[in-house]
Every structure is written in structure tokens, then in C-alpha cells.
């Protein structure tokens, strides 16, 4: 019991790193995902092919391999990266690819009449995208964005293998001292679960707010 309490504050401190990784990767991933989706829907030459390749590559390989490529592979090309930046880059690229698919589906689900209404006011295609289509797509994509974030939150645990002391690695470090895996892994699980549930609630609130008028 004492152990459980004394280790808890350590784990809570480490979960700040977990949240930080998830939030940073999500922020970057949203930008990547949106740009990638627009590139594909707008059929931007050359870039479109590149984005297709990127999405296919990310979706077709394990996140762990992507992480190793960046952390252990890039130094061979003369690009050594610290563990935390490596982790954020790998997670961003990963979640960005999945988000781009959600955004693309959301953009394609906006009715043709919305483009026509914008165009008939004299807007350019890109103005229609920026002012009319994208804002509606983001609302449509919100549930999937939320789900991606929750997966991402759990995926951050993979970064522990490249020595980032986030929640999971902090837990294993404590276990190495105390030899109490059951208690500590249970605590870690509890914290992951609470975080996921918390963000799910937040997501529901945001969705309710935003969907009031759509």
C-alpha cells in the first residue's frame, strides 16, 4: 500500500510526459493530415503522388519500426536526433497519415452544392476550400480525430523503448527497484485508462458544442 502511494506520484509526474508527447504529436499530425488530405482532394500534381506513398507506407508498417527508422536510422544519414524529438516526429508522421484519411473522407462528404454555392459567389477553388469545405470537414471528422487521439495517447508507450521516460518507462524503472510488477503495471494501466476516459469526455463535449448547428 505504501509502495503504491509512494510510486504513484512518480507515475503521475511521468504521465505529464505522456500527455505532452500525445498533444505535441497530435498538433503536428493535424497539420500534416489536413495538408495531405487537401493535396489529395485538390489533386495537386506530384505532391499528390508523394502523399499517397507516405500514407501507404505509414499504414503498411508498424509504428515501432517507424520509430526505430527515425531514432536509429537517421543518425546513419548524419541526422542524429534526441529521443523526445524522435518520438514526436515518429508519432506525428504516424497519426498524420491516419488523420489525412479521416480528413479526406470528411472533405469528400461535403455536398457538391456547397462548392457550387461558393463558386457562384465568385470564390476561387482554394477560397471555397478554406472558407466553406475545410471548416465543415473538421466538424465531420471530429469523432475520428478524437479516436485517433486516444489511440495516440496509448501509442506513446512505444516511445519508452528509445529511453523516453514517459509513463510506461517510469513504471518499469520503479519495478526494477521494487520488484512489484503487478501493483505498478496496474497503476500505469489505471492512469492510461483515466486519461483516455478524461479525453473521451472532453471529446464528447466538444462534439456536442460544435454539432449544435450542423
Amino acid at each position: 500500500m505504501e509502495l503504491a502511494l509512494s510510486s504513484l506520484h512518480l507515475l503521475i509526474a511521468a504521465s505529464a510526459v505522456t500527455i505532452g508527447l500525445a498533444v505535441a504529436a497530435m498538433a503536428i499530425g493535424l497539420v500534416i493530415g489536413l495538408l495531405a488530405a487537401i493535396t489529395r482532394v485538390g489533386k495537386v500534381p506530384v505532391l499528390e503522388q508523394f502523399v499517397r506513398g507516405y500514407v501507404s507506407l505509414i499504414r503498411g508498417t508498424p509504428l515501432l519500426v517507424q520509430l526505430f527508422m527515425i531514432y536509429y536510422g537517421l543518425p546513419q544519414l548524419g541526422l542524429p536526433l534526441e529521443p523526445i524529438p524522435s518520438g514526436i516526429i515518429a508519432l506525428s508522421l504516424n497519426v498524420g497519415a491516419y488523420l489525412s484519411e479521416s480528413f479526406r473522407a470528411a472533405i469528400l462528404s461535403v455536398p457538391k452544392g456547397q462548392y457550387e454555392a461558393g463558386l457562384s459567389l465568385g470564390m476561387s477553388y482554394w477560397t471555397v476550400m478554406r472558407r466553406i469545405i475545410i471548416p465543415q470537414s473538421i466538424r465531420t471528422a471530429l469523432p475520428t480525430i478524437g479516436n485517433s487521439f486516444i489511440s495516440l495517447l496509448k501509442d506513446t508507450s512505444l516511445v519508452s523503448v528509445i529511453t523516453v521516460t514517459e509513463l510506461l518507462r517510469a513504471t518499469t524503472l520503479v519495478i526494477a527497484r521494487t520488484f512489484q510488477p503487478l501493483t505498478l503495471y496496474a497503476e500505469a494501466a489505471l492512469i492510461y485508462w483515466l486519461l483516455s476516459s478524461g479525453f473521451s469526455l472532453l471529446q464528447e463535449r466538444i462534439e456536442r458544442r460544435v454539432s449544435r448547428h450542423v
Binding site: 452544392g113 454555392a117 457562384s120 459567389l121 470564390m123 477560397t127 472558407r131 449544435r212 448547428h213 450542423v214
Partner: protein, 265 residues
Amino acid sequence: MSEPMLTAEGLVKRFGSQVVLDGISLAVARGEVVVVIGPSGSGKSTLLRCLTFLEEPDAGHVAVGRRSVSAGPHTREETGVIRQLRQSTGFVFQSFNLFPHMTALQNVMEGPITVLGLSAAAARERGMALLVKVGLREKAAVYPAFLSGGQQQRVAIARALAMEPQAILFDEPTSALDPELVGEVLQVMKALAQEGMTMLIVSHEMGFAREVADRVIMMDGGVIVEEGTPEQIFAHPREERTRRFLNTILTRSMESAQGGSPPCE
């Protein structure tokens, strides 16, 4: 009637092997109100859409005011002219197509801000004045999902007007509405006509056409079958096709609503 405000010459549109517009020419004078009628599939919507290049015509030529464009492929410069042409030609859709993520007022302000470059304050002022004009002052802050069809269509008309267009095209503006909401929209359109707005309207509201139209055009199979004053077309149609079509319309409207369009407020 004076110089034409809107002209189309030899418009051709094909979908695959189907010829939907078969070389249509038409001129609408400044301030003229023209109503287009014709059976389903005769190409009325396609005509309106080609006039603003929402549909790319295969051949022909469109002019609005001093701007004119021929069928594509378009140079970069022509693409710009098409955009200006759309700017000066309002389009009111059967299904309204309001922007759902914007309030009524924001819908009306959007074009002036992003296309005309008006300041938010100036656009707001213009937008409010137009909402007042279509009788929706108190709905300014309401999102489209909370407006009736008739109210949505009136916002859509205000949105078109906000660009200060030289002409407005209406594609069956009341046919998606419950019968009791048709009148309020026609009322707004009638007021516009009286102010001298140039209008090309696809509509089967015969009462409205009789009252407001300067000219009625009957289309079938991608061509203009006949045209004339409402009196000529409705009371003394020369063509058999027109007569047959008017009969079906008459039967249909007698079946649905007893009497003409509902009274306005």
C-alpha cells in the same frame, strides 16, 4: 427593352452521347424578368449552370454585362473572367445550399468579405440591410439548420444580392418548399423584379410567371420550343409540346394544392 444584360449564343452541352443543350441562344435585357419552363430533363438547370460555368459548356458563348467567355478550355485569364462573371451573376439553388457552419448573417457577409474585400463592418451593414429586406432581421444570428425552407431560401437570395449582381439566376427556387412557404419566397422575388433586377427564373409557378414575367421561354429537348409573353404562352401556345406540358403542370398543381400559390403575409 434596352441592351442585353445577359446573353448566351449557341450553347451546347453533352453528357456522354446525350445532347442536353442543343445550341441554345438567348438574351435577357437589363431589368427583364424571364421565366423558363419545360418538362423534367429538358435542360433548364443545365442551361442556368452553363451560364455561370458551374457546368462547362462544350460550345458557345456567354456574356454578362461587359464580360464574356467562350466555351473552354480556358486560359488563366479566362478563368479570372469566369470568376468575375459569377460574381456579377447571382445564383439561387433549388436546395438553397446555405453554408451550414455560418449564421444567416455570416452567410450573407461571406461573399462581400472574401470576394469583394469589404471590411467586416461594411459587410455586416450590407448583410443586415439585406436580411431586413427579405424580412429576416431577427434571424441574423440563427444557423440554417434552425430556419424553415422558406427562410433559408430568403437568406440565399440575400446572399446572392450581397454581391450586388447585375443579374440573378433562379433554379426552381420554390420547388423544394412546403406549399405554405412558397409565397414568402415569391414575394421577395417579386419585389426584386419591381426594383428592376434582371432575372432568369426556372419555375413552374404559373401564377407568379403570369404576374411578374416579361417573357416566358418553353424548353424541351435542349432547345427553345417557343417564347413569348406569359399571355401568349399560357393562353395561346402555338406548339403542341407547350400545350401538352402546360396540361400536365395544370393537372399536377390541381392535384397537389387546391388553388394557386398561397397568399403572402
